[in-house]
């Protein structure tokens, strides 16, 4: 359900489950994390993309609902956290091509991005509280990336924001006119970044990670633990059933 293609120094990782709006399964997250970690030494930039109209609509809720003990939800949460951390640890830049938007777990993945390209009609946010799931796993990254004020609004309000608002808070960086132009622009950005001196990029990215760690207040592990703590409970079980019936 993912595809990997190396275009010179750019490794393109594509979520390939367009019929489900690239809804994430534990296997997909593990696979993406693996191909990030196993990128050849010559890879300077990773582009994370999604097939179809939407980059990623979040977790596969039907799969979660089919496992009422919460085992799939737990695997998704820890897989998501591991993926974000692996993207941050990757020594080159990470560019996300988020056409159509990034919702819930999809939005959380932006926590591992250095540059996000999207289109004017795209939507972003975390509607997950509605189904009894806490977006806390993403909070340590979103709080520092977008600022604590916007992060609070996004985590607690289940509504979505548009691309311009996402750019205003620093969640995305470039907005192109139509969804069709997002990947092409992301590749252009990636190729520009791939030409920059690798030592300077790796050092600067590592330093930014360190600065952000100092500002975070809570660790990524703590965020994950809060989300995990709710998993398997009645509120979430009922929420998932409602979501799947819709």
């Amino acid at each position: 359900m993912i595809r990997v293609a190396d275009d010179g120094p750019v490794r393109v990782i594509t979520l390939a489950r367009a019929e489900k709006r690239n809804a994430l399964t534990p296997e997909m997250l593990a696979e993406v994390t693996r191909v990030v970690k196993e990128a050849p030494a010559s890879t300077r930039v990773i582009v994370l993309a999604g097939e179809g109209s939407v980059f990623c609509a979040g977790f596969d809720l039907a799969l979660c609902a089919a496992h009422p003990d919460g085992s799939v939800m737990r695997a998704l949460l820890s897989g998501l956290s591991a993926l974000i951390i692996s993207l941050r640890d990757f020594p080159g830049c990470v560019v996300v091509a988020a056409q159509g938007g990034a919702i819930a777990g999809g939005c959380a993945m932006l926590g591992g991005a250095d540059v996000v390209v999207t289109d004017r009609g795209a939507k972003f946010g975390y509607p997950v509280l509605r189904i009894g799931v806490s977006p806390a796993v993403s909070a340590p990254f979103l709080g520092v990336g977008a600022g604590f004020g916007p992060a609070r609004a996004r985590m607690l309000d289940t509504g979505l924001i548009d691309a311009e608002r996402a750019r205003a808070v620093g969640l995305v960086h470039e907005v192109v006119d139509g969804p069709g132009g997002v990947l092409a622009r992301a590749m252009e950005v990636a190729k520009g970044l791939a030409e920059k001196p690798p030592t300077a990029i790796a050092t600067t990215k590592g330093w930014l990670n360190e600065i952000e760690d100092g500002l975070r207040g809570v660790t990524p592990e703590r965020g994950l633990a809060v989300s995990m703590g709710l998993t398997g409970g009645d509120e979430e079980r009922e929420g998932l059933m409602r979501a799947v019936r819709r």
Partner: protein
């Protein structure tokens, strides 16, 4: 040395002028020392509540005088220069008066870092600003904490990892400056207006508010900026970086990162 940085005081408003226009106010060890001395004097000026920081001539500050550094055979030269910049940024941030950068022209690398250290900044649409360090193989580690505080980490990552320069208009849109005027000629008037407005604040209230803001965002913890200086110096010390710098602007003074 004293001529490299000037202070003029008029009522409650002071102006700190970076005065090395012949090389676009690039930061050498001597210029940094002159700025340190001026800022040390300003700490004691309880009669001043607003400080405008600007550059003499066409540029605000073209950044670190790296040409000088790579020509200097002493291996500790980069670290000395960067630590001096780091300490200056900490001192400038900790000044009791509210500070506003009047970005009269190019503000590049460390120069753009000084803009971010000031509480506010004003420029004109066609000034050139930004952080091209990674393009030169250098790590903008001293300025990174200040840019993150100014525009947030999400935007700062993009700016610092992408390198290049932006216009004053773009710097305004991304939040590096807080106001922008159309024509360069209009900037002086806008600066005077901003200073007048800032000086309307009660001096004790301004001081207390600024101090609290510094506490809130960790500006008073110098460790991260000093570690940034060491990191940046380490990258400049690498042979691959020195070779790149020599190649990029080996013999052309006045065009520095």
């Amino acid at each position: 040395m004293s001529d490299l940085a000037k202070v003029e005081v008029s009522g409650r408003i002071a102006r700190l002028v970076i005065n090395r226009p012949e090389i676009r106010n690039a930061l050498s060890v001597e210029l940094l020392e002159a700025l340190h001395a001026r800022v040390d004097e300003l700490v004691r000026r309880e009669d001043v509540s607003v400080l405008l920081v600007t550059g003499e001539g066409k540029a605000f500050c073209a950044g670190m005088d790296l040409k000088h550094v790579i020509d200097d055979p002493a291996p500790e030269a980069p670290a000395r220069l960067l630590l001096s910049l780091a300490e200056l940024t900490l001192k400038l941030r900790d000044l009791p008066m509210v500070t506003c950068a009047i970005v009269n022209g190019a503000a590049i690398g460390g120069g753009c870092g000084l803009v971010c250290v000031c509480d506010l900044a004003v420029t004109h649409e066609s000034s050139k600003m930004g952080f091209p360090e990674v393009d030169l193989g250098v790590c903008p580690a001293v300025v990174a904490p200040w840019l993150v505080r100014k525009i947030g980490a999400g935007r700062a990552r993009r700016v610092l990892l992408s390198g290049g320069l932006m216009s004053g208009r773009e710097a305004y849109e991304i939040g590096i400056v807080d106001a922008v005027v159309g024509e360069p000629e209009a900037l002086a008037g806008a600066g005077v207006e901003m200073a007048r407005r800032l000086a309307e604040g009660g001096p004790a209230a301004l001081r207390a508010t600024k101090h609290l803001l510094n506490e809130l965002d960790g500006s008073l913890e110098g460790g991260v900026v000093r570690r940034g200086a060491e990191l940046s110096a380490r990258v400049i010390g690498l042979e691959e970086t020195r070779a790149r710098l020599r190649e990029k602007f080996g013999a052309s003074p006045g065009n520095r990162p």
